[in-house]
Symmetry: C2
């Protein structure tokens, strides 16, 4: 039963080393190239994606009382795919029925299966790219990376750390306590990894796989059956994931229902029924703080891992590369139209302006530099669409439109000639008189906030992270002493800080095996991908112990 | 600042190795001998304990608006010691004021300080023994061990695992991502350990140090200031602990208020005010499930680690050593009069009796064997008192008296001629007609429960653990096949199982570095001493990252 484990052991060992070292590493190439994924991979995936559309999605043996699914690509077409659907009660029952066999399988068996699932998901990255593109609205290149290899990295990271944690302590020991001149006390002890119970993964619209794989794989490998609850608008990437996982499980002689898909409809979601069920012991959730509060109030029986609402900030204090700074920030603001949980929203700029390699720049000149850099990214509509993608959810478009009233419009949000799109809206506000920017305005909206000086910007940005949550913070500065102060302030606020990013490294980026995504130290989330606190609570250790002499009495036993 | 760390590093390394291996290990000898602790240690401690009584307890610089304390030894005398006391608000403010300096100290500094505190506590084990004896009512030998070295073991275990966890991942890394023919992306990343916030340790009456040190030291070493809230009847052992810790902190140039003592009075406890304060981020709690429920409902802002109510069981299915079994169980039932959280309460015995090395024994013969073995332990009153100790809390005595009505009395609870004492009450009930034994009756009360056969006993014991919680389970059996089934059943119920214990190994015993105390997998508690889930959530990691090229621009910086 550990053939899969043996096959994938080198990848596991490398992943565990990478986790320790925190340098760059991945076994899953991020370049959508036929040279890597096979010369026919691209065409095969296009054919496969076309074949899925307008049909019932095949999930053999999955609980099904009806068919649901009404996904429409933000790029245009309705997908026309329906998925097997069942009540929360039926899904819980099926999950519970599969739990025993999964819990009873060995750590090596489960680890091998999870690594095989990830490997097969990797081979399907082109198809996952199309599925991600046409549910999230990301451009294909991003959808391929975020929906495919980068998500697989996060899954592998969780498997590697959970495996290390499950094998951290000896699984058996002889405890021999000297008793002076008397015979020593001698006991043998054995520990079993016991999973927590049913695990629920609540996916989001924008990164259905990237934000879900950590929790799904951390729970699976530690022996918990998983119910995957996709956002009704982004089912396909997770349906493909569940399908592949079920195939691997069945091939290994285990129940397919170790992983289930919980499909529902907008307005008739079954998430609350699932989350509050007494059998659900673990919940991974990505979404609004509002529903996070509901879970805290009503799903107290479960250990809750969250990524929630936050307001990411940039503080501009000075730069040795004004053009590079503007270009870098323009990309971060435009990429996927601000729909990344890591995208900046608030840019604090001293009222007196900043010193740069191009000399002093006033507040208005800095603002103009950012606006122009965004414009330059979007000059060519096709290239602009490749960066901005489309808007996943119509509500985001409405929110961006309503946001015009929250400040002085510096740059209007406009549509690109592809799909449901919106370029960044830039608003200017004054920190002394506005609080509009202190709440998350999810989507293509950024505030340029006038502050007295850089230190006020740092203080306000850090304070906001502490109060309202933040996943990223950035600063541009040339004064080392102030940078050091900023490092301390943002650390106290529990938010990761990027300093003077230019070129092709962006504040939005979070690389598995190196970056811990979300700190868990401010309201933007309780879970950090992937630290030990993310995997350790998913299982317990239970012991049996017995005098060694007693073992001797029954040579055939135990 | 890491001189203490360097001094104690060998102990830390040995502790981390022991944690991995799970064999017997301790640096803190459990034998109260002058040869180990110094020829004058015993006399010095007696003098020191005498000098403490009837006086205000000296805690230099501690917040103090009044003096409180009314401890009375269960062995007789009132201690007459008063402690500095202040409002919850004042304690929180003092703790918050000390937090910054403690968080800013390095992992090595904090680890060195914690190890120094433990070493000094160890040197004071005789005094801690007296303090424990005269607050918990334990006999001296047990009070010395449980209040001294065994508690210190648990503290060291927490420090060792938390240190391993804080240093598990590289504290800095160069992340270098190849870009084909273009220049690689190069970022340096740095991670800071950021503590959670104020930590509250809520102690219990029976094991004030043993049950509190894990949480206190896990929180301290990870950078959180700790408020120690002792049970009003068992303040002194924790007051001595806090005093020694404050001395070490001050010597290291850190604020004494990193650790505070929260003394209150019965009926005017400040525990709820402390626990529900927004600044309290971590709570370690030992006590009733009733107050555990209150904490879950009202202290949702904090991460909660608990040990709560449970019902421990023994299932008798057969034995190759009837006398040894009865003697072993008699000791477990009598030791500290059933006031250990690990003491058995329910003993399931087949109605048809069991097979033994002395031939078949009927239910009544088994019951009589247990009764006689308890009697034998107590024949000599002084020796009996050395095992049974006294009753910590008068309410326990009242509970044992009221319990007479819950079944047929097989053995009356009687007083020993020392202090407030009570020997085990043995009650016989029938599993088919009674549920009285299904709730915890804390203290010297045990139920002998008639079941149809051993398998019913196993099923009922495991089911009760799952429903009501249990910290220990035991079985005596000679059939290996049934033992294997029991192992699986109790593992599913999330309770540690001891098999066929005779001689000087008892189900009550839980050894640091080897036994995980409480599994966290049933209602008897959410925390396991000490697994990774106990230490990892006490801190987070926060990063700053910066292009390596940018570092080059400012040679003197960062």
């Amino acid at each position: 039963m550990s053939a899969l484990f043996d096959r994938h052991r080198p990848m596991l060992v490398s992943a565990q080393t990478a986790l320790s070292d925190r340098g760059f590493w991945t076994p899953f190439p991020e370049i959508p190239s036929g040279k890597i994924y096979g010369e026919t991979a691209k065409a095969d995936a296009e054919a496969a994606f076309a074949a899925l559309q307008g049909k019932p999605f095949d999930l053999p043996g999955h609980p099904e009382t009806t068919r649901l699914g009404a996904e429409v690509s933000p790029w245009g077409p309705a997908l026309g795919i329906t998925y097997p659907a069942a009540s929360a009660e039926a899904l819980i029952a099926a999950s519970a029925a599969a739990a025993g066999a999964w819990a009873a399988s060995s750590v090596e068996t489960r680890t091998g299966i999870c690594l095989e699932i990830l490997t097969r998901l990797n081979a399907q990255s082109f198809l996952l790219g199309h599925a991600t593109m046409h549910t999230t609205g990301q451009a294909f290149a991003m959808a391929f990376q975020a929906g495919g290899p980068h998500a697989q990295d996060r899954g592998l990271e969780a498997v590697a750390l959970a495996h290390a944690e499950m094998t951290r302590f000896a699984p058996r020991a002889d405890w021999i306590k000297p008793q002076g001149k008397a015979a020593a006390l001698e006991i043998e002890k054995h520990w079993t990894i016991v999973p927590r119970g049913i695990s629920l993964a609540i996916g989001c619209n924008t990164f259905p796989t990237w934000n879900s794989y950590s929790g799904i794989f951390a729970s699976l490998v530690t022996g918990n059956p998983v119910i995957v609850k996709p956002h009704p608008a982004a089912i396909l990437p997770l349906a493909l994931t569940v399908k592949i996982a079920r195939e691997v499980l069945v091939e290994a002689g285990l129940p397919a229902d170790v992983i289930l898909l919980a499909v529902d409809q907008p307005g008739a979601e079954i998430t609350k029924d699932l989350a509050s069920d007494a059998a659900v012991a673990l919940i991974d959730y990505t979404g609004s703080a509002q529903f996070g509060d509901w879970l805290r109030a009503h799903a107290g029986q479960a250990h809750l891992f969250t990524e929630e609402t936050g307001v990411n900030t940039v503080t501009l204090a000075g730069t040795r590369d004004f053009k590079g700074m503007c270009a870098n920030l323009a990309f971060s603001l435009t990429l996927y139209s601000g729909q990344m949980c890591t995208a900046p929203q608030n840019i604090y700029i001293p009222a007196q302006g900043i010193e740069t390699d191009e000399g002093h720049k006033s507040f208005d000149e800095v603002a103009a530099g950012l606006k122009e850099a965004i414009g330059a990214l979007l000059t060519d509509p096709a290239q602009g669409a490749a960066v901005a993608g489309t808007i996943a959810n119509p509500a985001t478009l409405a929110r961006a439109a309503a946001a015009r009233d929250l400040g002085t419009v510096l740059r209007e949000s406009t549509a690109l000639p592809f799909g449901r799109s919106a370029t960044p809206l830039l608003l200017v506000v004054d920190a002394a008189s506005s609080t509009a920017h202190e709440d998350e305005v999810f989507g293509p909206v950024a505030f340029l906030i006038r502050v007295a000086d850089a230190d006020e910007g740092i203080a306000r940005a850090a304070d906001l992270a502490r109060r309202k949550g933040a996943i990223t913070a950035a600063i541009y500065d040339t004064k080392e002493e102030r940078i050091s102060r900023a490092i301390a302030r943002f650390a106290q606020a529990g938010v990761n800080l990027s300093i003077n990013l230019t070129g092709n490294i962006f504040v939005n980026q979070s690389a598995a095996f190196s970056d811990f995504h979300v700190t868990g130290a401010n309201p933007a989330g309780s879970a950090s991908l992937t630290d030990t606190a993310f995997v350790a609570p998913r299982f317990t250790r239970v012991m049996w112990r017995r005098p060694i002499s007693d073992r001797g009495q029954s040579p055939g036993g135990c």
